[in-house]
């Protein structure tokens, strides 16, 4: 059995209509989310600095819609 990550919010994520565009901008980024990325994702969602020893990367799917230009 594989482990997965599921995310939900009532206002749409960027993925809603801009995800394809985002993914082409982030070609180098691995499409899978690694466990180590969770700290980075939570930090961005809460508008915090990354923890000192952070090695994870943020994933573009978690951008809120209005932050995209």
């Amino acid at each position: 059995m594989r482990s997965v990550v599921f995310a939900y919010q009532k206002t749409p994520f960027a993925q809603h209509d801009n995800f394809k565009h985002l993914m082409s901008e982030f070609k180098d980024m691995n499409k899978s989310i690694k466990q180590v990325d969770l700290a980075a994702i939570v930090s961005v969602l809460l508008d915090l600095s990354f923890p000192f020893s952070n090695l994870g990367v943020f994933h573009p799917a978690f951008y809120p819609n209005e932050n995209l230009t």
Partner: protein
């Protein structure tokens, strides 16, 4: 397994091999982590809440403003912890989601895997239970909240830690 994973997820680092020794008695986390950053910014406000397995509290207990831990040593008891944690979560959400970060840890699926195996009907029942909890959370949460659901490890066919 679990303590090492939890530390890794909150600090964003690769936890090293030697920390497996801490599996048998988790101690306070010294590395910088998401909760420390949140506390540094917000000070002591009703910010970080935790409901779930008691193994979290020796490591991160000092960051929690409201919390309730339940013991999980009896892997044959698949329901008590999940039910208690679910009702704690609902209380927080019904009370107007007054938190910056809520951590909740339900353990029924993992316990069912350890006690039986991944194909056992009890595992299926716990997955359905967990889905019910998620369904209720989605119903109750407000528009400013993001829900993130993840497992700290996969499950092998025999029901133990592993998979990817």
């Amino acid at each position: 397994m679990t303590t090492v994973r939890i530390k890794g997820m909150l600090s964003g680092g690769i936890t090293n091999f030697f920390e497996t020794s801490e599996e048998f008695g988790s101690s306070e986390v010294k590395e910088d982590n998401v909760l420390a950053q949140l506390r540094k910014r917000n000070g002591k406000r009703d910010d970080i809440v935790f409901y779930g397995d008691y193994i979290w509290s020796p490591m991160f207990g000092k960051y929690f403003d409201r919390h309730q831990e339940y013991e999980s040593l009896n892997v044959r008891d698949l329901d008590t912890l999940d039910k208690n944690v679910a009702s704690d979560i609902y209380k927080e959400l019904d009370n107007g989601s007054k938190f910056s970060l809520m951590l909740a840890h339900i353990i029924g699926v993992d316990s069912a895997g350890h006690t039986y195996n991944s194909q056992h009907p009890e595992v299926e029942r716990k997955i359905i239970d967990s889905e019910d909890i998620l369904h209720n959370i989605v119903d109750k949460m407000d528009d400013q909240t993001t829900l993130i659901v993840f497992g700290d490890h996969g499950m092998t066919t025999d029901g133990n830690h592993g998979g990817s």
